[in-house]
Symmetry: C2
Subunit: 501 residues, 2 copies
């Protein structure tokens, strides 16, 4: 390794170490830090985050990028170093194009906006939040001016979360998906066959939910020697380092699904990060390929493992053991139908598999219109409500249950939402391919042979970390580009059977 390459990797290790510290400080705040820790902890997080930003946009970083990507040197570099440099350069360009003062103002605005959003959501008062949102949108538009764009301004934002995905791609796949889902949702709501669900909401002791969450994590392949499970208000997975990928979950004693499916979802994120090649540790390639690929892994686990019929054939009796009264008169089939109920609802994070993509499309269309000056911040609530009525047949009774429900916009995360739906499409497409390699997939699950599935995912996806771009992974594994038909087929087969259509 040439000397400057070594220095470059040292800098990446330094950034990784700072990120590990910040990650742990956040995790600790959410899992068990005492109340009075918060003020100074937030300050410490601010100091270290600023330092990370400075390291990523430092003259030192720029020097390494320029000197290593110099034509004479470039040819001697490994594929790994080249990919790493591409990532570093992307971040460097992104941040260094924004004047330092403007970026600082924007960061302050973000943190204010988030607390105002919280208050606005509590009071269901959009007018409180609107001026901040307007400001954030204005800043983002200005940044797009600095960054430039191809074809559509919104493409620049999409590229930050899901490289390779553009408005053209999304318009196509979302169009197909909408055309299929909307009529099916209507058919289902009119079906005379509706599952019984009342027992889902009977009390399930928290301690038992916890034991069951731990049990499922172990069964599915989460490595407890490289992680731990804790309780938080919002479940998440966080990577501190490759040997320390933690998950959290939430226990709702009157809806056990929150913990069980939440845990399995986060397990998917965590198993991904636990199985990235060790060779990438301490570099900027030691993470998931993209938000969408990450979500494909969590949704694969949640839906294609945790909602697989064989899974419950195997574990339903175990579930009954942990809450006998709740399920004593419920058959396996009744249980399975209940956990797969589909019904239009207002809140994205509570939506079922079938209606979930509609929630994403509404946000996508609104964001795209905002950044193409076809919609103003003032008009948002009205448009939001219209779209919910049009796609889901329901109208939010207030903005808290409508346009104010998600935190994302208060942090300026425009372009993020589509990756949730992309993850779902990726997952369905991967599932189709796994069925070719492992035609006995359902049996594997029914027999608890999750390690075979984990090995397949590791071999095809996890190990690469950020060594490959999202669409490169999709192409390499499935032999084709993004194809929404697999998701449509999956939903069609599943819901027609469930609702006897």
């Amino acid at each position: 390794m040439i000397n400057i390459e070594k220095n470059y990797y040292d800098l990446l290790q330094k950034i990784s170490s700072y990120e590990e510290a910040v990650g742990l400080m956040y995790w600790d705040l959410r899992t068990g830090a005492p109340k009075k820790a918060v003020d100074q902890r937030s300050q410490a997080i601010g100091v270290l985050s600023t330092e990370i930003f400075q390291l990523k946009t430092s003259e030192e970083m720029n020097t390494y990028i320029c000197e290593l990507l110099n034509d004479e040197v470039k040819g001697q570099l490994s594929e790994k170093t080249l990919r790493s440099l591409a990532e570093s350069k992307k971040e460097y360009d992104l941040f260094s194009k924004i004047p330092a003062d403007e970026y600082k103002e924007y960061v302050i605005l973000q943190s204010k906006a988030e607390s105002v959003w919280e208050e606005a959501k509590d009071k269901s008062d959009y007018q409180l939040f609107a001026p901040y949102l307007k400001n954030i949108v204005e800043y983002t538009k200005k940044f797009i001016g600095y960054w430039g764009y191809n074809g559509n301004k919104y493409n620049t934002l999409l590229d930050q979360y899901e490289p390779g995905i553009t408005v053209d791609v999304l318009d196509r796949v979302f169009g197909q998906l909408r055309e299929y889902i909307v009529p099916l949702v209507k058919e289902i709501s009119e079906s005379p066959y509706q599952p019984k669900t009342d027992f889902l909401f009977k009390p399930f002791p928290k301690e038992n939910q916890k034991l069951l969450s731990e049990f499922f994590l172990k069964e599915i392949g989460y490595d407890f020697e490289a992680g731990r499970l804790d309780e938080t208000v919002h479940p998440f997975a966080t990577t501190l380092n490759q040997g320390d990928v933690r998950v959290t979950t939430k226990y709702d004693e009157t809806d056990f699904r929150t913990a069980i499916f939440g845990t399995i979802h986060e397990c998917g994120h965590a198993v991904y990060e636990q199985n990235i090649s060790e060779d990438l540790a301490g570099t900027n390639l030691s993470g998931g390929a993209s938000m969408g690929i990450h979500e494909s892994q969590s949704l694969f686990h949640e839906n294609f493992i945790g909602r697989n019929y064989g899974f419950w054939k195997r574990y339903y009796s175990k579930l009954i053991d942990y809450s006998p009264e709740q399920f004593e008169e419920v058959s396996l089939d009744e249980f399975f139908e209940a956990i797969n109920e589909s019904k239009p609802s207002l809140i994205r994070i509570e939506a079922d598999e079938l209606t979930y993509p509609l929630h994403i499309m509404i946000r996508y269309e609104i964001e795209k219109a905002l950044f193409n000056d076809e919609l103003t911040v003032e008009e948002l609530p009205e448009v939001w409500n219209q779209k919910y009525e049009e796609y889901l047949g329901i109208t939010p009774p207030n903005d808290a249950k409508g346009v104010l429900q998600d935190v994302h916009w208060s942090g300026g995360s425009f372009g993020y939402f589509p990756s949730y739906a992309l993850g779902y499409m990726y997952a369905a497409q991967l599932k189709q391919t796994i069925l070719k390699d492992l035609p006995n997939y359902d049996e594997l699950i029914e027999n608890g042979h999750f390690s075979v599935i984990k090995e397949w995912l590791t071999k095809n996806i996890h190990q690469y970390g950020k060594m490959k771009q999202p669409l490169e992974i999709l192409q390499d594994v499935t032999g084709e580009g993004l194809n929404v038909q697999y998701l449509i087929n999956y939903l069609d087969e599943k819901y027609r059977a469930l609702y006897k259509l």
Copy 2:
């Protein structure tokens, strides 16, 4: 505040933030990080610790110190800024006098020496550790050469832990203490009256020890909104920030004293840090005045609260509730005598109140001789064993239970041990003063009015953080310098009564 002063405080805040991150990373490693986290975590701790060292010895820091301590500026500064600068200057001088290369070699040596020490202790093989210890002593001697010294070379080391304390002071107070303790230990061992202690080692359920530890912490005045209790192999207290001072304890099911008195000891450290003036947050003054003053607070809590007769008059029935079979036939007085048993023993951290100072004196005399070239590393085990025989009347059967028992020397912490004994003398001297202000001290404890005692300690000691030097605190509070007679009086009264001498 002048501009450069503001920049100086910003740099201190930055250092504090890094220290908070490192503190949390250590705490997490010891309380619950998964096994595979360790390798990369250690690297991250190394990166951040190096950064802290660089900030403290940076050109930036030197500039602030020089410009603010300039005669024209100095007069305008607050007492707080002046104290803070004195601390910064002391650290800057200490580290910047050592050539960077030598310091780096030394840090690597330290970390190697600690793992070799662990192995040597496990195998009870001093020869394994000796070359490393020799090397560390050589480095330290070289550093003393850079730093300079007054009177005695060992004074330079003492000054790093307990400013103001010198060999002259220690020779005097340790001399007095030894002359008093050695004969009393002999008298006690020959006393026909010996307490019954067998019941101490009966099983006490861990879960109940935990509940009791939490209970005592709350009772004594530990603020759980600014801290938490966890379990570790070695108990400790750690300050992440002023609103987050954590304690840990260890549960031994066949000796409940480990957890109960360990928790009360750490409680003393933690209550100190929880009550430092908020005005000092984020500066280098937001910590205890010295190792000795810190230890005075932990020992005050452990011995003058937790081993007070009134304390157990109040709580013995509660203790019985948590382990009824163990204590059903033990009276309060029998219990109190048992927990205050005094008996020469080999291991410092297991020693009782009376013999503890002898363990410290032995280490002090050895360190002093080492740095004045009156003793070689090779001769250590022999001298150690001779002194244990001379002072305590027992000889270690092997080096694991002798010269290899403490971790301190492997980390180059020479000059640290005396602060344990100084803390004890400070505590007894403070106790004498508190009795003047609160003559009903014993009653306060018997009635659970710990807040009155906490307020006294906060008003006289805690609030100041590092605003005062250790001997300044002692003088301001007790009206005199270090006086070992108070400790002697306390021990005399207590042990003559207990052993009916």
